[in-house]
Symmetry: C2
Subunit: 351 residues, 2 copies
Amino acid sequence: MAITLRDVAARAGVSANTVSRALNKTGYVNRQTQLRIDAAVAELGYVPNAVASSLRSKKTQLFALLLTDITNPFWTTIARGVEDAAMEAGYAVILCNTDEDLAKEARYLDLLLRKRIDGMVIAPTVESTHILQNLERRDVPFVLIDRLVNSVVADSVRGDSKSGAYDMTTHLLSTGYRRIGMLGGPLTISTTEERVAGYTEALADAGIPADSHLVLYGHFTEGWGYQATLELMSRERRPDALFAANNTIALGVLEALRVMGLRVPQDVAVVCFDDTTQFSAGKFLTTAMQPAREIGRVAINLLLDRLADPKRDVQDIVLPTELVIRSSCGCNSAFEIGVAEVTRRSVRPGA
Amino acid sequence: MAITLRDVAARAGVSANTVSRALNKTGYVNRQTQLRIDAAVAELGYVPNAVASSLRSKKTQLFALLLTDITNPFWTTIARGVEDAAMEAGYAVILCNTDEDLAKEARYLDLLLRKRIDGMVIAPTVESTHILQNLERRDVPFVLIDRLVNSVVADSVRGDSKSGAYDMTTHLLSTGYRRIGMLGGPLTISTTEERVAGYTEALADAGIPADSHLVLYGHFTEGWGYQATLELMSRERRPDALFAANNTIALGVLEALRVMGLRVPQDVAVVCFDDTTQFSAGKFLTTAMQPAREIGRVAINLLLDRLADPKRDVQDIVLPTELVIRSSCGCNSAFEIGVAEVTRRSVRPGA
DNA sequence: CTAGGATATGAGAACGATAACATGTTATCG
DNA sequence: CGATAACATGTTATCGTTCTCATATCCTAG
């Protein structure tokens, strides 16, 4: 049915092997022969069969991107970066949303292993260890994004959570807030740990006694953000500012405050990690923005490097965050100069 | 290196063919034999090679999703629906962002044809005709989402743009607005046409003389929304409400109004098509929300149906939109009942 | 002038599965 | 009881490339 390389070979009057060499620019091909082959390809409308090629060469030119939910704009943007960089290198990307569901993860892993993907970019959850071990055993290279995993040594890219949290906290302090509530994510995820560390360090550097009651750990969900806010705000001496460890939590925070009838930032300031992209109509939330697209791009580059040299040293790349100051922090510096937002590059503290 | 089906066959003491039948549940296999094979698979840690399978069976279990930019939450959500439904059916999805760039489209098309994808879900742009013809010629089934294309007859899923626009316009009228500016997308895209039609019909039904000066056509971009707003709002009798044909345009509208020092909704109401997901922190914009996730799911189902029966009649599925009333339209009905938003299912007008 | 490298091409096997076909055994039924 | 269907399995060809190896020509240096 479809035109094969042999058809092209016949038409150009050469062997299949020569056509293969001509198309892949591997090995010698006479100038004239090349032209005849190119002509034959065009005339026949030949499209190489990558499936056959993959079977023989054992390379599929396929990557997978495994994350919990692409609906979160942070991950969307990462996906975009991954896709761009992969495409440039001639790879296609299979998108996988696991929803932190073990069964789904397992199904995907099986699917991807069958498809013999060349590599994977993964945002690991607590449960991912099993997947990562499996990948290691089967020699499928992978890159961790956003988070590290204790037991696994692998290439990784992530935003500088600690610095971002440090800067954000410092910004709140310099605006005048003193009782800053921290709504951390799950303690089991490395980014949570670092964000709380940055927050704590900033308080310490400012000479503010850290009040452990102001830090709650939970989940990266709107629901938990909601609950945690109700709890924090009903304390006897309630916080004057709330720092959500990610954008999803922040949504719950805002909703809870709205229900409680508290205004932002007049009654309480709200800031968070991870941007909500340009689609946060109204440009309201002040955030510690991670360079998501760049994280995605770098992840693919690490993967490509790894494929080129399986023995190279493992790299852990940490990219700087940026403070995007909008109105929810109540510092007004954006409004003073007549724009909706102001950005400030993060500089690593101390270390 | 890797374990093959033949290794499993050897271990189970049967032929390769029997193993194939056992694993794919195709053809008869004795209960005992099946168990021996399952055991061998487990012991050896055998993972079938889908590449080899695809080569022989001519099915790759791969779909592609081609859209302009997944960064737009509307498309993100569609992608999510596509991915979910595909996964359930055992297909993986390759994500492709074209950015309306012809060169990129061409590169992707080539890549996907080589990979012998089983089908494609595509949000066509004006330039896509060439791609669609190519797919048709090569017998790759595809489903159009969100938009139709004149010259192409194919399965399609989309939101009910006309009804959505009709309802939204009616809502604005009933709130008291009389000069509603319409910021359409490109005239070349079917959804623009329908949205303007719904808007026009609503005005007519309300007995409001349509003022053609209040309708502008342009692009689905923030920049154009900005420019168009400046233009509309500097008219002698300026609009009291603005209807953006999609979410991206709306962002430009909001920014322009902010720069002009106009308040929303006090000075001018703003509504738009397509939601900005839950991440529109503050839940501000009133929108005609399309069931994006459902659109994605249905697209995959159409594709599967088409694969099952290539000769079946072409289907064009139109899903209802929903009015999400928040604060930007100034009707306050959400606030009266103490919630951030109120939703109202669209009912098709007349037709 | 000749050995060895660069250039150019081809024959045939191999990648790992499934399709097509063949064959034998066991039930089932009129 | 013989025919036919259901069950069970095996052999061989094939999918469309690329890989390995073989061969031949043409230079160029020593």
